[in-house]
Symmetry: C2
Subunit: 728 residues, 2 copies
């Protein structure tokens, strides 16, 4: 490293001093000081911290009275300050330069002067209205931000605590750190007692403060809960907030965020109380959750299900921490390729070891796997099925959302799906209506259109009954029900998931089976989708399909509206859809081809006889241009039916390379898709232009031992179990 | 290289054999055979050729009777065949493997059997209707494709000619090569006599065939024209098709395409008749044109003015050839960074040398420069002003289209502009309405919407008078007029171009001045735009501004249409615009902010008192979804005025990084933009929120020696020359 470690080994020796350890251990510091050459990723993080701290040292201490909401000046200032405190503390640990320690001290001292007199934040009422009682902060409008502030700040404090006089320590501890910890726990007891990621941030903040202050009672409060009974607190959160597969019920976007306090606090626990074996707790749920977070992504971005900001991905700081910790635990070389993608690491011993291994060329490709991530504390509340054909980052990936609701950030989109192929999103999920931290967009909060559009069922690729959203878009009601996973199987050439949902609509049961199928005669795997719905009362069934790309070809009837465009409906998201065109589906196959980047995709659709198709685009009733532009089809069964079946086949084909002036196979290779439902089975027959046929046979019953036999077009199809694919 | 060169050095020795040289010289072949390690880029090209040829050798000879239009099976087959012939010939030169030579022979023999009996191509009438008499082909629907076919094919033939018996040579020469050359010149004499890039392809094909067949008359026909008088043919094309600055009047997209036959034929000339000093001809116009082609790009893509396919860029094969030749002439290390971007090279001696230099790490960044590319044979027909602030590939770039019409592929958009910043297109040009080689999109031809939308004035960022296009969208009329370049100057902190257009509309004169201005208090340079129009008769003035991004903020009146959207007008492109919203501009400043990738941009606009603004989107009257979605504002002066001035300031600001949860300066830093026109000057005053002011003073007269003095808001502004920027 660039500078010598002054008295650090003494200061941090547990034998001679009570200087607290949080994330950076004595061993790590010894490694840093012994190293000749700083590993690249570590150096990047180091240089970034150095730039931040030196900028701040030039600027001086700026600790304004809290005033602004998210994205505003004081909000961003206090966010920057906790990073400065953290980074300067770590720099001091690495370099031993007392100026860094002094900067941390001055900043903390300024906070200690201000904090005791602070009321609740003036903008607390303007935060996103929470029906669930999440509390306000003092430094920030949300208590959540305050907990994050303390998680970072306490690390900076721990790093320099031994440089301070006991008076200085006392002032900072009694006027700042302990009051913030108490505010987050005792005073915000409703939040602190929740089994929720906000409470995990609070637990981490309080527990780490306990270690830093040598106060085991604070630690226990965090780990065992406010009442010391393990019914709340960190262990309870570890038990209940992840499914046994490491899936976090709110979805990947929140999983990433939720992960941070778990892994950071767990590491502090492991460094201070290794006997707790925190990383082994609940069958190693935290390492499992870190792996799951990586798996829930495509090309570095998280699947944007539920209230997700689409740009978020594996390079977020939460996962940079998570990855270093996972690497510290496993030394798995597959993790190193994710570190390369992140392009940085954290300034801890684990980060250092990881960066060194990357420099040594040890990285191996991460193995993305077909997985059913079961949802719910006990893994029995549905699940997210991630079907991948191949393990490369570009491999076709089908994400099927057969999960439970995921609380208030959940969307009403049971049995919805998304498709990625060739590195791009092909069948899309809208994500959240939100522009993070943009003041002019409601200060970066969820926009009204998040509720009126993004959460609504019609915004997703799944069944809408009677133009209303599932569960009438009430999440507390939705929280009570989830789909059954009837079947899940993964082979080299075929992945299958089948799921059934009841109670999303009164008296309606619907089932969806999705197959991802590798065929010798298609450029990439095809997707076969069968959605069947039954209703006690006659109803209208709509099935939307949102795609990304430029329409280039269609067969069947679809007339564009050329002179005037109107809204599709009035309620439950329909009012945000412009009707660009419409047509009759009739009894024949409809084929729609679009161009996405360099590939073509054709959706072959068979809907009930008499169905219509509507080509829609988001943007209606959007006076503040809060919506992105998204195109889709809505397949609408004839009104007043008691059942409906929709078959879609999504076929990737061809290549479009205008730079090389080369285009091939821009037309679909599939001539015909037929569907017949006979007694207990459905047969879907694809006929390729070159003559081959593929018949996908699906039983209505997922029983693996049941035998089925059916005659179709003069040919017998016979199989055992839920499905069979016949190729001729 | 991987194989020994059998008898090649003898076969290609000019001393002992008449084997023809086109692009690959004897010296080059000696270098290949002497080399131990194939340079990377060369090897990539080699491997690609190898894959193509081996695939073809497995498949056998496929020479179908011509039948299909562009993008169809026989069209693509004959395109693939000429590449196979070329590549197999070059592979034979490199490796000496007689199988490659035999494959070329078989292919050529099959063509020689078919060609004499071929009629004109059956699809010739379905090619894009040409009012200018470009002829049909036989192998392809267009003669142009046929010329390209011969340019490639003749190289393959030359490479293997010495392996053939004289009977075989005679059959191929008399039944195929000479007939094609005669068809392209004598039989298609109208095309061949033109001063047009199609004719250059023909000249190259015919001239290279002349060298290969040892027929100087054919060579002269190509170089001096069909009548041998130099009024047509290659030299005349070199004299007239590029401006003295190496600008090709149709624009960069066609410049790239036009370049190929020029550089390939020139190299063949130089190899066979070095005394012609073809690369020095007309002050080295060809090297100049190659450099210009690179300069006319941003982040690897060409400026999409006129009928351009937006995806085309520096990695197209034409420029891969051009670059290798330019490097052969200059050895300039800046060209190597472009080669790295291209990722390949050509299988010639020049390509080899370039690839070797890249491997040796000699590449330096290409210097992108602020340049006025004068248009017209004599450089007096306006010009394309490319204003860059910095020479990095991401540097802000303002492209101002003050050129002449550019024939039938020109758009009617005099004094239009485009803006790039931070690596992205911010103020956009639509380019062409065309999907290259997609059969379902009219076979990849220019779509009807190219004429009804893309070419029309309202599709561009420039003045529209009375909702009609400039020159009534008649290119022959437009070809007669061009703007004057009144002023062009480039400094470190400011670039300025000013231009005036008459005759685009009867009785209307309009002038536009654009400044690119680096200021200490903005994230990136700002653009100041003053457009002034005067009409003899009262008229309606519209000024569109098309942007890329998501609107996030606006001040001033703009009401979105929430329930219904209608078309803006009926003619001249207006019928393709949906009206998403509208408002009154009044007398106050309008400010519109959008988010483009990670930056914000605010357009500050002052239009004449009583103006309106319309927020538009392309897509109306588009029954076949041929248009891309593009958003823009149209600033509309009050009806029946004789003059109008529009001032716009485009300000980049802030950063949006959702991965890092960081947003800053999403609001504009400019509080006020004022405009006053006093006598002979215009003053544009910007007041920043922090108090600084910047006054841009512009004289109406570009005279550099004229002195100006004006009082504005109690302050005197005094300067000499066309413009001055006052900062306080």
């Amino acid at each position: 490293m660039k500078a010598i470690i002054l008295s650090l080994t003494i200061a941090f020796s547990t034998a001679t001093s009570a200087a607290p350890t949080l994330l950076v251990t004595e061993d790590a510091l010894a490694t840093f000081s012994a190293s000749e050459q700083t590993p690249n990723l570590f150096d990047k993080a180091y240089q970034k911290a150095l730039a931040r701290v030196e900028r701040s040292m030039k600027e001086g201490i700026v600790v304004p009275v809290p005033k602004d909401p998210g994205g505003g000046v004081t909000h961003e200032r206090h966010k920057e300050n906790y990073k400065i405190i953290h980074d300067a503390g770590v720099l001091y640990q690495i370099d031993g330069n007392p100026e860094y320690a002094e900067h941390v001290y001055k900043m903390l001292d300024a906070y200690a002067d201000m904090y005791p007199g602070l009321p609740l934040h003036p903008e607390r009422k303007n935060q996103n209205t929470k029906s669930d009682g999440i509390g306000a902060g003092k430094l920030f409008w949300q208590g959540l931000n305050e907990a994050v502030w303390l998680v970072y700040t306490i690390q900076g404090y721990a790093a320099i605590a031994d440089t301070l006089s006991s008076d200085a320590r006392q002032k900072i501890e009694t006027q700042l750190l302990r009051p913030v910890a108490d505010f987050l726990s005792i005073e915000s007891h409703q939040t602190f007692r929740r089994i929720h990621n906000h409470a995990t941030w609070s637990a981490a903040a309080v527990g780490m403060t306990g270690y830093a202050l040598g106060d085991q009672a604070l630690v226990d409060r965090a780990i065992l809960g406010l009442d010391g009974d393990r019914k709340t607190g960190f262990l309870a959160q570890m038990e209940q907030l992840f499914s046994p597969d490491g899936y976090y019920t709110e979805g990947p976007y929140y999983q990433r965020y939720a992960l941070m306090p778990f892994v950071v606090f767990a590491q502090a626990i492991d460094n201070n109380e290794p006997d707790r074996r925190i990383f082994e707790f609940r069958n190693a749920i935290l390492p499992k959750a870190i792996d799951a977070t990586i798996q829930l992504s495509y090309k570095g971005k998280f699947f944007p299900i539920n209230d997700a900001i689409r740009e978020k991905g594996l390079n977020t700081i939460e996962l940079v921490y998570g990855l270093s910790i996972a690497y510290g635990l496993t030394q798995a070389p597959e993790l190193l390729s994710i570190a390369e993608l992140q392009g940085t690491t954290v300034l801890t011993g684990e980060g250092y070891a990881l960066a060194k291994a990357v420099d040594e060329g040890k990285a191996k490709p991460f193995q993305f796997k077909t997985t059913l991530f079961r949802d719910g504390e006990h893994g029995n509340q549905g699940g997210l099925a991630v079907l991948r054909m191949g393990d490369s980052p570009d491999a076709q990936t089908l994400v099927v959302k057969n999960t439970s609701q995921g609380f208030g950030h959940g969307h009403f989109d049971k049995l919805s799906y998304q498709l990625y192929d060739g590195g791009n999103e092909i069948i899309t999920d809208y994500g959240a209506a939100r522009f993070l931290n943009v003041p002019s967009k409601d200060g970066g909060r969820y926009l009204p259109e998040n509720k009126t559009w993004a959460k609504q069922t019609v915004a997703h690729n799944t069944l809408v009954v009677n133009e209303t959203s599932q569960f009438k878009a009430k999440w507390r009601e939705a929280q009570k029900y989830w789909p059954t996973i009837d079947f899940f199987e993964s082979d080299a050439d075929v992945n299958v998931v089948s799921s059934t949902m009841e109670n999303a609509y009164p008296g309606v049961v619907f089932n969806r089976t999705l197959l991802q199928l590798k065929l010798p005669n298609t450029a990439a795997p095809i997707v076969v989708d069968l959605l069947r719905a039954n209703s006690e009362k006659a109803a209208q069934f709509d099935l939307p399909l949102y795609f990304d790309g430029q329409l280039v070809q269609l067969s069947g009837d679809l007339k564009m509206n050329t002179q005037q465009v109107n809204v599709l409906g009035n309620n439950d998201g329909y009012k945000h859809l412009w009707v660009d065109g419409q047509g009759k589906l009739g009894d024949s196959l409809a084929q729609y081809t679009w161009l996405n980047h360099k590939s073509f995709y054709t959706a072959h659709v068979r809907a009930p006889k008499g169905s219509k198709v509507v080509l829609v685009r988001t943007g209606a009733n959007d006076p503040n241009f809060n919506l992105r532009n998204q195109q889709g089809f809505i397949f609408r069964a004839p009104e007043k039916q008691k059942s409906a079946s929709f078959v879609s086949v999504i076929e990737p084909h061809g290549i479009y390379d205008p730079a090389a002036e080369f285009t091939a196979d821009s037309s679909s290779q599939i001539q015909l898709v037929e569907h017949v439902a006979v007694e207990a089975v459905d047969l879907i027959k694809l006929t390729f232009k070159k003559g081959e046929t593929v018949v996908v046979a699906l039983a209505k019953d997922a029983d693996k031992s049941a035998s089925h036999k059916v005659n179709f077009q003069g040919k017998n199809y016979q199989w055992k179990g839920f499905y069979q694919v016949f190729r001729q």
